[in-house]
Chain length 112, copies 2
DNA sequence: TAAATACTTCAACAAAAATTAATCTATTCT
DNA sequence: AGAATAGATTAATTTTTGTTGAAGTATTTA
C-alpha cells in the first residue's frame, strides 16, 4: 500500500476548484519559478491586493500554496506535495487502459 | 517538441472546473470502470436526470467525456486523452524541484 | 508614539453556477 | 399513428463565487 493513496473527495474537489480560475492559475504559474510576496504578485498580475488575497486564500485552503512571514511581508510558495496528490488522482484514470465497452443498458439486472 | 504541449489557459481552467464538483467527480469515477448511459448514471448517483444532464454537459464541454448514441440511449465514456492533458499540466510543477527561496521583496528593481 | 507599509477581512453588491420542474426532441414499441 | 422511454433544453429561482472599497491587524520606520 502506498502512502496517502486515498485523499478524500472533498480534498480533490477543493484542489481542482482552486485550479479552476485564470487568475489563480496565473498565480501558481508565477510561483512556479520562485517564492513571491503578495505585493510582487499584485504587481505582476495587475490586480488589487484585496482581490488577489481572496484568490490566494482559495489556493491556500486547497493546500496548494504555503506562506511564510518575514517582517511585514508574506511570501507565498507552492506546496508541490499537493500538486502531486492531484496529479496522482488523474493518473489513476490513465492506469486502467481498457474501458468496458457498450453492454446494453436494459440488461443490467433492472427489475422490470 | 512534444505534441500538444501548450493547451491554452482556458482549456485547463475548463478542465479543472469540470472536476471541481463532487457529483461530476463521482460521475467520472463511475465511468472509470465502464461506459454508461445516462439512466444508469442517474440511478447510481441518485439524482434527477435533468440535474445530471447539466453536469454531464460540463464534463463534455471540458472534453473529459465523450458520447455515443445507440438507439435512444446515449452512452458516456471517458476521454482519457483530456485527463492526460490535465495530468501533464500538473506534472510540469513537479518537474522543477527547486524553488528559488526568499529574495527580499523590495530589492526587485522597484522604482522607489 | 505616530505614520507608513503589507496584507487580510468584512460587507455590500454583481456575476456565475447549480437546482427544479416543465417542455421539447428523438427513438422505439405496440 | 399513438404511447412510452431516454435524454437535452429552457426558464425561473436559489446558491455560490467573485469583485470592490473600506476598515482592521500587524510590523516596521521615523
Amino acid at each position: 500500500m502506498v502512502a496517502a493513496l486515498n485523499p478524500d473527495l472533498a480534498t480533490i474537489v477543493a484542489g481542482f476548484h482552486a485550479l479552476s480560475d485564470p487568475l489563480r492559475l496565473k498565480t501558481i504559474e508565477l510561483l512556479r519559478d520562485q517564492e513571491l510576496c503578495v505585493c510582487d504578485l499584485c504587481e505582476a498580475l495587475e490586480v488589487t491586493q484585496s482581490k488577489l488575497s481572496f484568490h490566494l486564500k482559495a489556493l491556500k485552503e486547497a493546500g496548494l500554496v504555503r506562506t511564510r512571514q518575514e517582517g511585514r511581508w508574506i511570501y507565498y510558495s507552492l506546496n508541490l506535495a499537493q500538486f502531486v496528490v492531484l496529479e496522482q488522482y488523474l493518473a489513476e484514470y490513465r492506469r486502467l487502459g481498457t474501458i468496458v465497452p457498450a453492454r446494453p443498458c436494459r440488461d443490467e439486472g433492472k427489475s422490470s
